[in-house]
C-alpha cells in the first residue's frame, strides 16, 4: 500500500497541469437559457474540445492506435482531478468519449473505427445514447423500438426518451428490437444512426430545474445501413453491457473535485451567514453537518482510489461501481440539504451565487435516478457482489 504517486504518474500530472495552464479558455460568461445562447455555449465547448484533441488529451484512456494515450487508470484519475482543479470546461462530446467510443473500440469493425473514432475525438460529430424508452427505463432490455430488415438497410420505428444532448447530436447509439420472438435479451441489435436521417424528430423535455437537457427522440421509417450494426445482429445486449459498464465505471475523481468546490463555497458562506448573532460556522449543529459532509466526501474519494487500484490490476470495471454511484448521488442530496440549512432564507434565492444553491438542490433529485437508479444499483450489489438470488 502506497498512496504516493510514482515518478511516472507525477511526470504525467506535471505535463498535464502545464498544458492546462497554457490552454484553458476563460469561463463562459453568457447564460444558457435560450436557444441562441445555448448554441453559442455549445460552439464554445466544441472549439475547446478541438483544442484538447489537438493537444492529444481528448481520450487518454483509448489505445494509441485509435488516437488515445493508452493511459493507466491512475493516470485517468489524475487527469480528471487536474481537469477539475484547473476549472477547465467539460468536453462536449463526453458520451462519445466515455461510453460510445470505447464501445466502438470493443465491438466495431475496422471500417467503423476508422470512420467514427477520429470525429468523436475532434468533436466534429457529437454523439448521444438511445437506450431508454417510455416503457423501458430500469428494465432497458424490455425496449420496443423496432428495426426490420429491408435489403441492405434496417427500417427503424419507435421512440426513445431521456436522451441527453440529442438536440446537439449528429449520431446516436441506438438499441432496437430485431427479433420480437426471441427472449428479451436475445433479440436486440445496436445500431449507429445518423441523427440527420429522414424520419428522426425530437422534442425537448423540460426538467424540474427549468432547463432542457434531455429529449424524446422519435424514429419513423428511418433507414439505417446494415453496415452500421455495432457488434452482431441480435447480440446488441452484449454491446449495450459494454456501454453500461463504462457508464458505471465513471472514475469519480472529477465528481470529487466538483463537490469539493461546492463544499468550499459553503464553508465560506457559513462564515457570513449568522445564527443567533454568531456565524453559522460556529453553530454546533451546523458544524456537525459540515464535518459530516467533509468526511463523506473524503470517503468517496478514498473509495474511488481503492476501486482504481483494483481496476488497475483486473482491467475490467466490476459491479463495485454501483457503490460509487450510490455514494455520490446520495451524498450530493444530503450535502445540498446541509447547504440549504446553512444558508437559511438565502438558500432559496436564485440570485445567491448565480443560482448555485437552488439549482444544486433541485438537480440532486435526478442524481439517484440517472445512470441507474439507487434501487437498481442496490440490486446489482446484492446479486452480483453478494451473490443473493435474482429478484426479477
Amino acid at each position: 500500500m502506497d498512496l504516493n504517486l510514482t515518478p511516472e504518474e507525477q511526470q504525467f500530472s506535471d505535463e498535464l497541469r502545464a498544458w492546462l495552464k497554457d490552454n484553458v479558455p476563460p469561463p463562459w460568461e453568457g447564460s444558457n437559457d435560450n436557444e441562441e445562447e445555448s448554441h453559442a455555449y455549445f460552439n464554445y465547448l466544441r472549439d475547446w474540445q478541438r483544442k484538447v484533441f489537438e493537444g492529444g488529451w481528448a481520450a487518454i484512456s483509448w489505445p494509441k492506435a485509435y488516437g488515445g494515450r493508452g493511459a493507466s487508470v491512475i493516470q485517468q484519475a489524475i487527469f480528471q482531478e487536474e481537469w477539475a482543479r484547473a476549472n477547465a470546461p467539460m468536453l462536449v462530446n463526453g458520451l462519445g468519449l466515455a461510453l460510445i467510443g470505447p464501445t466502438i473500440i470493443v465491438h466495431g469493425t475496422e471500417e467503423q473505427r476508422a470512420r467514427f473514432l477520429p470525429r468523436i475525438l475532434s468533436a466534429e460529430e457529437i454523439w448521444c445514447q438511445g437506450f431508454s424508452e417510455p416503457n423501458a427505463g430500469s428494465d432497458v432490455a424490455a425496449l420496443g423500438t423496432k428495426a426490420v430488415l429491408d435489403g441492405d438497410h434496417f427500417v427503424v420505428n419507435g421512440q426513445k426518451i431521456w436522451t441527453s444532448i440529442a438536440h446537439f447530436s449528429d449520431w446516436i447509439l441506438l438499441l432496437v428490437r430485431t427479433d420480437a420472438n426471441a427472449a428479451k435479451h436475445k433479440g436486440i441489435t445496436a445500431l449507429l444512426v445518423d441523427m440527420h436521417s429522414e424520419g428522426v424528430s425530437l422534442r425537448p423535455l423540460r426538467q424540474l430545474t427549468g432547463e432542457s437537457g434531455f429529449n424524446e427522440v422519435f424514429f419513423t421509417n428511418v433507414r439505417v445501413p446494415v453496415s452500421n450494426v455495432l457488434g452482431k445482429i441480435n447480440e446488441g445486449w452484449t454491446t449495450a453491457i459494454t456501454t453500461l459498464m463504462n457508464e458505471r465505471a465513471n472514475l469519480g475523481t472529477s465528481i470529487y473535485v466538483a463537490y469539493k468546490r461546492n463544499l468550499d463555497a459553503l464553508l465560506e458562506r457559513a462564515k457570513v451567514t449568522t445564527r443567533f448573532s454568531r456565524p453559522a460556522a460556529e453553530d454546533p449543529v451546523i458544524r456537525q453537518k459540515l464535518a459530516q459532509a467533509y468526511l463523506e466526501l473524503e470517503i468517496f474519494r478514498l473509495n474511488t482510489y481503492r476501486s482504481l487500484s483494483k481496476l488497475a490490476k483486473t482491467k475490467v470495471p466490476g459491479p463495485e461501481g454501483s457503490i460509487s454511484k450510490i455514494f455520490w448521488s446520495e451524498f450530493n442530496q444530503r450535502f445540498q440539504q446541509t447547504a440549504m440549512e446553512t444558508l437559511g432564507p438565502w438558500g432559496q434565492l436564485k440570485e445567491l451565487d448565480d443560482n448555485r444553491w437552488v439549482y444544486g438542490y433541485l438537480r440532486t433529485r435526478g442524481n439517484t435516478i440517472e445512470a441507474g437508479t439507487s434501487e437498481i444499483q442496490r440490486n446489482i450489489l446484492a446479486e452480483r457482489v453478494l451473490g443473493l438470488p435474482k429478484s426479477y
Binding site: A291, L295, L381, A382
Partner: protein, 376 residues
C-alpha cells in the same frame, strides 16, 4: 499509487484469520465474556508467538517494527473473531511508552509486552467522561522523590488484568504520565460491567499511590502530544477492529439471507432484504477505505493524519452500529436471541463507538480542522 494491501500484508491478514478462527471460536468468546477479566493466557500467548503484541514495537525492543497498516490488517481479523481481552488496551499503552518513554523505560516495558509477558492499559478519563487528555484533573503531587496519586479514573479498559496501568494525572499546573503497577498500595480496581462483556471496564481508585519520580514517563505539552499520538494509533486500530466486526456481520447476514426460507423462497430474493445487505456492503467497504487510509497516513506522518483518524473513527462509529442494526433486522427473531452470535458484535460495536470518542466527538474534531481553518 496503490491503495491495496501488498501480497505480504494480505498473507499476514490471512494467517491472522486462520489462527483466530482456530484459537478464538465463538464458544470461547462466550466462555471468556462470562469470566471476570475476559482474559485467556493461552490465547494471549499464541497471539504473542505471532509477534502481534510487538507488531509496532521497534526490533531493538523485541518487536517486529511493522507499520500501522500491518497492524490494521491483523486487528481487522481480531474484530472479525470478536477477540476478547486486552489487545487494544496494551497496544494503546505500548504506543504511548514508545512515543514518550526513555530508552530505559522502553526496554523495561516494551520488551515484556512484545514477548507477551506484560499487559498494560491507560487510565485517562474521569467522571467528566471527557476524551480530551488536557481535562485530566486527578492529582499527582510531588513528595520528595515520589509522586503521590489521589483520585478516580473511569472507563479504564482491562484494568484488572493489566500488569501496569499508565496513569494521566495533574499536579495543578501540568499533565503527568505515570506508570502504576498492578497491586500497588492504595490502588483499587472495581469492575463496572457494561454493554460489551468481551472488553471489561473498570473504575480505578488511587488513594495515596506512590510512584517514584524517576519513573515518570512524560510531562506537560510533550506528554499531551504523546497521548495524542498514541491515541491516534489506538483509534485507528480500534476502527480496524470495528471494520472486522462489520465484515463478520455482513457475511453472516448474507449467508442467512441465502438459506432462510419464507414464502417458499430464500429471503435474500426479496429486495427489501437485498437492499439492507447492499447498504451493509456499502458501509463496510467505505469503512475499509477510511481505516486503511488512516493507518497509512499515521504511519507515514502525513499532514492529513489527524483528519484521517477522525474521518475513520467518525465513520466507523456510525457504520458499525448501522451495520449491526440491519444485521439483526434481516435475521428477524433469531437475531434477537442470546443464542445467536450477532449480539456479541452488536455490543462490541456500541462499546467501540464510545471508546476514544464517538462520531459527534470526531466530527467536532474535523470541524476544528476543516471549518475553522478554512481559508479559501
Amino acid at each position: 499509487m496503490d491503495f491495496d494491501l501488498t501480497k505480504a500484508q494480505k498473507l499476514l491478514q490471512e494467517s491472522a484469520r486462520t489462527l483466530l478462527a482456530r484459537e478464538c471460536p465463538h464458544e470461547r468468546v462466550r466462555e471468556l465474556m462470562e469470566t471476570e477479566t475476559a482474559f485467556d493466557e493461552k490465547l494471549w500467548q499464541s497471539i504473542a508467538e505471532q509477534g502481534w503484541t510487538g507488531l509496532l514495537i521497534p526490533e531493538e525492543y523485541g518487536g517486529l517494527s511493522l507499520s500501522l497498516v500491518e497492524m490494521a490488517a491483523v486487528v481487522e481479523e481480531m474484530g472479525r473473531a470478536c477477540l476478547p481481552g486486552p489487545f487494544i488496551s496494551t497496544l494503546w499503552a505500548s504506543a504511548l511508552i514508545d512515543v514518550v518513554g526513555s530508552a530505559e523505560q522502553k526496554k523495561k516495558y516494551l520488551e515484556p509486552i512484545s514477548a507477551g509477558d506484560t499487559k498494560a492499559t491507560i487510565a485517562l478519563i474521569e467522571q467528566s467522561a471527557d476524551w480530551d487528555a488536557a481535562s485530566a484533573r486527578m492529582r499527582a503531587d510531588r513528595e520528595g522523590n515520589h509522586y503521590r496519586l489521589n483520585g478516580r479514573k473511569e472507563f479504564v479498559t482491562d484494568a484488572a488484568i493489566a500488569d501496569v496501568i499508565i496513569c494521566v494525572a495533574w499536579d495543578g499546573k501540568e499533565i503527568f504520565i505515570l506508570p502504576v503497577k498492578q497491586g500497588a498500595h492504595g490502588l483499587t480496581v472495581t469492575a463496572t460491567p457494561g454493554i460489551d462483556a468481551t472488553r471489561k471496564l473498570y473504575r480505578v481508585d488511587f488513594e495515596g499511590v506512590l510512584v517514584p519520580a524517576s519513573e515518570v514517563l512524560g510531562t506537560g505539552g510533550r506528554a499531551l502530544e504523546a497521548i495524542d499520538r498514541a491515541t491516534s494509533v489506538a483509534t485507528v486500530a480500534l476502527s480496524a477492529e470495528m471494520l472486522g466486526g462489520m465484515q463478520w456481520t455482513l457475511d453472516t447476514t448474507v449467508e442467512y439471507a441465502k438459506t432462510r426460507q419464507q414464502f417458499g423462497r430464500p429471503i435474500g430474493i426479496y429486495q427489501a432484504v437485498q437492499h439492507m445487505c447492499a447498504d451493509m456492503l456499502l458501509m463496510t467497504e467505505s469503512a475499509r477505505s477510511a481505516v486503511y487510509y488512516a493507518a497509512w497516513t499515521v504511519s507515514e506522518n502525513d499532514p492529513q493524519a489527524r483528519h484521517a483518524v477522525s474521518i475513520a473513527k467518525a465513520y466507523c462509529s456510525d457504520a458499525a452500529r448501522e451495520v449491526g442494526n440491519r444485521g439483526i433486522q434481516a435475521h428477524g427473531g433469531i437475531g434477537f436471541t442470546w443464542e445467536h452470535d450477532l449480539h456479541l458484535y452488536y455490543k462490541r460495536a456500541k462499546g467501540s463507538e464510545i471508546m476514544f470518542g464517538d462520531a459527534n466527538f470526531h466530527r467536532e474534531q474535523l470541524a476544528k480542522l476543516v471549518v475553522d481553518e478554512h481559508t479559501d
